[in-house]
Amino acid sequence: MSNSHYVNDKPFDPKSVEVLTPEQEAIYLAPQRQLIWWKFKRHKLAVASGIFLAIMYLMTIFAEFIAPYSVDAKNTDYVLAQPHDVHFFHEGEFIGPFVYDYDKSLDLENMVRVYTPNKDKIIKLEFFCSGHPYKFWGLIEADNHLMCADIDQPVFLLGSDTLGHDMLSRIVYGARISLTIGLVGVTISFALGIIIGGLAGYYGGWVDLVAQRLIEVVQSLPTLPLWLTLVAIMPANWSQITVYFAITIILGLVDWTGLARAVRSKLFSLREEDYVLAARLMGASTKRIIGLHLIPGFMSHLIASATITIPTMILGETALSFLGLGLRAPAVSWGILLENARDINVVALTPWLIYPVIPVILIVLAFNFFGDGLRDAADPYG
């Protein structure tokens, strides 16, 4: 049969119309991950936040090394001492970072302890040295510190609390609980959210109906009283680790609903996309469609929303402990440290006891910026 159509014999080259330079090719053919990274890099605030968060999490790992004292070390001779000022020059002479030792006196008129820097007594700050012995992660014996100071002649860079604990050390150790509680909690709510939301979105019908109602029920629970009851039934002699996990589970159990909703709705909307239809027409199995086409489509979005959930968890723990309902002393978390700051005296006379608020604010802000950057970057084609 003769055909009036002209068919070129040459092999078809789709790039013939627009020839790409190698640089352009690198961009156009870059994998999604690469694109996300490029886009994320442009969000300067998010990058800075990411670096800050990385440093903070490194600090939780090496808390024993970074904190000048162990978490229980206290010197009851230096109760409620104000933060030491770090100096570099003594009488015009440079001698490196040092602090002046305090002269202690009791002001019996006003019932306050007075600490006056004694210009003759210099305590030089040493770095990367041997100091207070500790067990790294409760396993390895060591005594290396970033900065050392004898507890008998203490250096309190952020002051000391009502029993003579170093606030700096306690903030560093407190980060361990306060920062990881968010991660663990998010993992739990993530798992629950993806499974329940995924099932609802995938199967639809009555599964969706049940899941939706369950989510509504959980969301309508008033969270504060719920936490109160759950915490109240925890026995007092549970170890700190058990209480810690119990609290993360409580936080996670309450928090998964939003994520489950997001997963479900994303699944619903993506299922109707043209590329899914195309894949289905080409005969791809359901498993392949979900695994290869749907999940990458919303995973990045999920990571971003999880990042934003972490600070709510951190704030949740802080709020619970602040109210005296979460972890209890002698455990140390930022919320527990802030429990001391409820007193009117603190605001008026010993403001350094409120310092743990600062890392809480910074961490929550950093997570929000970081999450913001991630969300923008997560959809690089948009």
Binding site: M111, T162, L163, A236, N237, P330, D343, N345, A348
Partner: protein, 632 residues
């Protein structure tokens, strides 16, 4: 009419006018108008013939001016009852030297410790002007205690001796007598208590709610109008003495409530018929009104620090002092530091009735309690929390008490870890976990949950120090704080191993005061709630005492109840204090710590130093707030 006569008339007119002027001058300004219009009789007629003249000279008090409102802050509406504690008008009451003296009564005579005759003041009137007579006492005894409906709760325990009730006898209009077969030494202290035994009621007012005196239908209507269950409930509601909730109820206190609850601001006005006078014969109180504001107890320190109270000690604690001192100049008040009159500021009460059998055996072993006491570093607690101003001491009487001996406060209280460890090892608690925690005979770790009502930061700090100190003797401490009702219920049922509370309520005891706190007599005693309940309820509930040393205390207490002389009572007190100290039934930390008392700079006659205690000082009661006055 001669000039002489005219002059004489003129002079007498002038003299008459002068008399009126002088009466006017001495009358209380707030009441002047009412006296002039005839609503109230003049002061001399309102006072009893022989009013109670308050000794100003020996207590450094100055004559005052009338007027002013005294502002107080309270943490809950229930604190309304604090006014009756502060103003402290009692049938008989403690003087500043802790002896019992007549107050509302003009005199009393005690025969053989078992026969009490009281004489009232002639012309003494209730706050509504009705005379106070023996009838008011008869009404309480015959129409309330002995009444089937109102007396359901039984006769007040302080009026029972070995289950026997007194014989009540009216001798004349102002004299009456209570007689028992055996001595009743707790009768007078009960009448003088901060929350006293009220053996009188305003009969003329109360009768309108009593079935014996009112027509049935009329009473039924009153019950219905008041929405009460029956006339008994209505009567009970209208007669409350401790908490003056009924503004219509006549009172004998210096100020009477004018605000019906619920309210957050209660105004108390002077009782125009109050029976006390200053040395010049001027009627007390000086201050016109007491204004009590109910606010959240968390903000009381903040409010006192901004000058919103003229006299405040309740809900203030030692750690508030620096803050309070700061506001002094600006807000025109001074923070005085009184001594807190408690046996111990913070005391541990090992529960001898604990449910857990293993623990109960351990706690009942005196070596364990002694080790707990030796393991506390009281010096550290004193210095860290109380600025070294308190006295390290067991939970016992304070040096200000007539019964004080150094050994009571020092026995088993020196800090000695080694001795404590030896004692615990001897008991068979010598096996330890790798972290140093001792193991119980059944293999559990020696982990103790100390329970607290969590009401003060001070307590939490002391507990944290103790937690660290007990780690050195191999005991692991957890602290659990719960709300006060739950805290008490857990201790009563034996769920609690060790509870924390303040020590003896009366730490400046005299031999005549009741030593009930040193023996199991009340469920509220956290070291032996079940045994206390057993005695307190006349063996109806609780468990009988099953420990010899506690039994000894109980027997001594019973002896005190029967003792006839003060010398005998003193001997028994010393035996009880000695036994209590040696057996370490509760573990004291420090006492004599400081209680901040915020006093307006305009307020006079408030002592510079005092003992702030529930019993026997009734907080401000024995310092007589009716003599306080404003110099403005």
């Amino acid at each position: 009419m001669t000039m002489k006569q005219i002059a004489r008339i003129c002079i007498s007119i002038f003299m008459y006018l002068g008399l009126i002027v002088s009466i006017q001058a001495s009358e209380i300004p707030m009441l002047r108008e009412q006296v002039q219009s005839g609503q109230l009789p003049p002061m001399q007629e309102r006072l009893p013939i022989k009013p109670r003249v308050i000794d100003f000279e020996n207590y450094d008090k100055t004559l005052g001016k009338y007027g002013g409102d005294l502002r107080l802050l309270m943490g809950k509406a229930k604190d309304l009852g604090q006014i009756t504690v502060y103003t402290y008008a009692r049938l008989v009451g403690y003087a500043p030297d802790y002896t019992i003296q007549p107050d509302i009564a003009e005199a009393f005579v005690v025969g053989d410790g078992r026969d009490f005759t009281f004489k009232l003041r002639k012309g003494h009137r209730w706050s509504d002007g009705h005379p106070l007579t023996s009838e008011d006492f008869r009404y309480f005894w015959e129409d309330m205690v002995k009444n089937e409906k109102l007396g359901k709760k039984g006769i007040p325990s302080q009026m029972l001796v070995d289950g026997e009730e007194p014989k009540f006898q009216v001798i004349d209009e102002l004299t009456f007598r209570y007689t028992w077969e055996k001595p009743n030494p707790s009768f007078l202290p009960a009448l003088a208590a901060p929350s006293p035994l009220y053996i009188y009621r305003p009969a003329h007012y109360m009768k309108q709610f009593h079935a014996r005196y009112v027509d049935k239908d009329e009473l039924a209507k009153k019950v219905e109008d008041a929405n009460a269950r029956d006339w008994g409930a209505l009567h009970t509601r209208m007669q409350r003495q401790r908490r003056p909730e009924n503004p219509e109820l006549p009172t004998l206190q210096a100020w009477r409530n004018t605000t019906p609850p619920p309210s957050t601001r209660f105004v108390f006005e002077r009782n125009p018929y109050f029976h006390r006078v200053d040395p010049e014969g001027r009627q007390l109180p000086y201050i016109d009104r007491m204004i009590m504001s109910v606010v959240s107890k968390d903000v009381i320190a903040a409010k006192a620090g901004t000058g919103e109270a003229d006299l405040q000690a309740r809900y203030l604690q030692f750690s508030d002092v620096p803050y309070l001192k700061r506001g002094e100049k600006k807000n025109n008040y001074t923070t005085r530091l009184w001594s807190l009159g408690k046996g111990s500021q913070v005391a541990l009460f090992p529960n001898l009735n604990a449910k857990d059998e293993v623990w109960r055996d351990i706690i009942q072993d005196v070596r364990f309690r002694r080790a707990l006491s030796l393991g506390i570093n009281r010096k550290e607690i004193n210095e860290v929390i109380y600025f070294g101003l308190a006295y390290p001491s067991a939970n016992t009487v304070m040096p200000q008490s007539a019964l004080y001996k150094p050994e009571y406060s020092q026995m088993w209280t020196e800090y000695d870890k080694e001795k404590a460890n030896v004692l615990l090892d001897e008991m068979g608690l010598d096996k330890r976990d790798p972290d140093g925690t001792r193991l119980l005979p059944d293999g559990r770790r020696a982990e103790i949950t100390i329970e607290t009502a969590g009401e003060s930061a001070e307590e939490t700090d002391v507990l944290e120090l103790i937690t660290d100190q007990y780690r050195e003797i191999g005991l692991k401490i957890f602290v659990r704080s719960s709300q006060r009702d739950i805290f008490r219920r857990r201790a009563y049922s034996g769920d609690t191993l060790i509870s924390v509370f303040s020590g003896l309520n009366n730490a400046v005891a005299t031999p005549a005061m009741n030593p009930e706190e040193l023996a199991p007599t009340d469920q509220a005693q956290l070291q032996w709630p079940m045994w206390g309940q057993y005695t307190g309820t006349n063996t109806k509930a609780g468990e009988s005492i099953s420990m010899d040393s506690a039994m000894v205390q109980m027997q001594l207490f019973n002896q005190w109840m029967l003792a006839e002389t003060d010398k005998e009572r003193e001997r028994i007190w010393h035996n009880m204090l000695g036994g209590y100290a040696d057996q370490v039934f509760s573990i004291g930390t420090v006492n004599n710590s400081r209680q901040p008392v915020v006093v307006s700079n305009d307020l006079r006659n408030v002592p510079e130093n005092g003992i702030y205690a529930w019993e026997p000082t009734s907080y401000f009661g024995i310092y007589k707030p009716d003599t306080f006055w404003f110099d403005r």
